[in-house]
Amino acid sequence: MSKHSKKAKAFLKDAGYSEWHDATFWAVREKRDNMSHGLPEWEQLREKASQIKLHTLSHLDQYLEQFASQAEKNGTIVHWAADAAEFNQIVFEILSSHGVKKIVKSKSMLTEECGMNPYLESKGIEVVETDLGERIIQLLGQAPSHIVMPAVHLTPDQVGELFEREGISDEIGNHDPTYLTYRARLSLRNEFLTAGAGMTGANFGIAATGDIVVCTNEGNADMSTSCPKLHIAALGLEKVIPDYDSLAVFQRLLCRSATGQPTTSYTSHFRKARPGAEPMHIILVDNGRSQWIGNQQHWKTLKCIRCGSCMNTCPVYRRSGGYSYSYFIPGPVGVNLGMLRDPRAHSGNVSACTLCKSCQCVCPVKIDLGEQIYQWRQQLPEWGTEPASKRMLCKGMSTVFNHPLLYKTATGVLPKKPFHSLKLDKDE
């Protein structure tokens, strides 16, 4: 049994919960279908988005340079981080040079990837997540179970009890989601007002203008950047796109794919710090990406815009949950990204796929996710991580299939007469 399949088995033990989990994500897939079926040009948009990404990734050096020089012209300070350690250090240096003791953060999978929160906390800096889902799992000490809806695996009761323990809600037993959201908002207000810096990720970096674009539903990126005087933005190298025309394509696809809404409630564009604030910092993070671009078989995985729709449609993800995967990004794209990151550590995820290819039909940038997983399976022997029992089984099968006589004998013992031994009318 693979690592994933063991965890999946445990997940499925609670039939009621796993059924709810499956239905919850299927409902998001259906909302996405409603949106995509409402746009006549949907398939053209996907193709266009894929082309733009392929083009940008294959000219990434130029676009990165353009992005960085535009951003500097705007008065932004641009940093380059080769890996997670360098990234964390840069963030810490910026914060300590401004004497910051607390930061508020909007959602960023990149900081998750780099382990930034624990690093900063070890240096005595308080980090407060301000996306509601991220805040909930931060208080629980959990990792996100999904890249867009990080706490969707929790029920209102679990959240209500957490808020009672944390003193966020004061009406004991009131687990109404609207009430809980209201209480979270009150408690976050105070964090926004007392933090020394705001940190955001970015959905896109626009090379032509040096802007970054952040999509949220809660407006928390705007709060994080308009209350404190210092804004730090982190983006992976692959987030850069050429211009606003390309943004228009992605903007139509991203939220429809992700949550089935026509757009996020807030699409925030940042060019430079507001008057009176400190200059804005942008950190461009490599952390493996420049190497992955050179991977002939798998570089296209970098087209991903992190919409999460491949997770929602994946029949295995829905029935095994985000925590059954060893990489911090689950589902089809997570299987692939984990293998790019460290194939030895994450080979246990490649079994989590029936090759149904639903993921590649929803993916807004048309990554051939299922085909990629098939390819990774072929590569397991390179790292010696292919399951021995499967190797034996396949060897046995191939011996039988390569010898028609053996095959005849083997199929001759079955209860039904095999087709090949029947008399056909033409033979008579």
Binding site: H4, A352, C356, R377, K390, L424
Partner: protein, 243 residues
């Protein structure tokens, strides 16, 4: 036009009646069909499991076995999809199989194009849209994509008089078979199969029908284990019934 019938290993061994139905159906429709001897397996199970290299000699054998046929027709969407999409990279020379191998539904629908009624089948059936049929061979429009709706299985089944055709809720979600997936990820696989069978049964159908015996085999084992009363028939069996 000479047609070679390919009866994949698991159909040969476990569902010989599907081979017979395919053969009879093609003959009934006036197709010049032959069954070359010495067939075993196309290599798909090993390749999907991660051992593509073990499929290469089988690809070579298939290439030789079906030399001289204009089309190779198989009652199995997953084998056809594997041959079409993966054989070219397995062989170190030009691959003819990839271009001429068709699933029987595709072949009937696109090449033979029968229009006259094919007898009657007065039953309620629920179509199982196998993943590889939908997303690799294009037997029906994938529910994910925004393209005109079609279903070649439904088109053919409509040639049977008295038939009532249904599709389950989540019409093309995977049933969880997935070849070695059902061994390696048995818990998820079983759960997917059960969910699928229940949705088929909820249509009120007496039969679940599809173009891939492996999906049907997986679901029928699960239906039996869970006491769900429903029967399974390959599309070719229904089409050939009573001819």
């Amino acid at each position: 036009m000479k047609i070679g019938l390919f009866v994949p290993c698991y159909v040969d061994a476990l569902f010989p009646q599907v081979g017979v139905a395919s053969y009879n159906l093609l003959r009934y429709l006036g197709v010049d069909v032959e069954y070359p001897k010495g067939q075993t397996c196309c290599g798909q199970p090993m390749a999907n499991g991660g051992f593509e290299s073990q499929a290469a000699p089988l690809a070579q054998k298939m290439e030789e076995l079906f030399q001289g046929f204009d089309y190779v027709v198989a009652p199995s969407v997953s084998c056809t999809a594997f041959i079409r999409h993966h054989y070219p990279s397995l062989l170190d020379h030009e691959c003819k199989m990839a271009g001429k191998c068709m699933d029987i539904v595709e072949f009937l629908h696109d090449i033979v194009k029968p229009t006259a009624p094919l007898g009657s089948f007065p039953h309620r059936v629920s179509i199982h849209n196998s993943c590889h049929g939908v997303r690799e061979l294009g037997l029906s429009s994938p529910s994910e994509e925004h393209i005109p709706q079609f279903n070649k299985i439904r088109d053919l089944l409509q040639l049977k008089e008295g038939i009532e055709i249904y599709e389950p809720e989540r019409k093309d979600e995977c049933c969880g078979f997935g070849g070695l997936f059902c061994v390696e990820e048995s818990a998820v696989s079983t759960r997917m199969g059960l969910d699928k069978v229940r949705r088929h049964a909820a249509t009120g159908a007496e039969f679940i029908t599809g173009a891939d015996c492996s999906c049907l085999m997986h679901q029928s084992a699960i239906a039996r284990k869970n006491g769900i009363q429903i029967e399974f028939k390959h599309v070719a069996e229904i089409l050939a019934a009573g001819l």
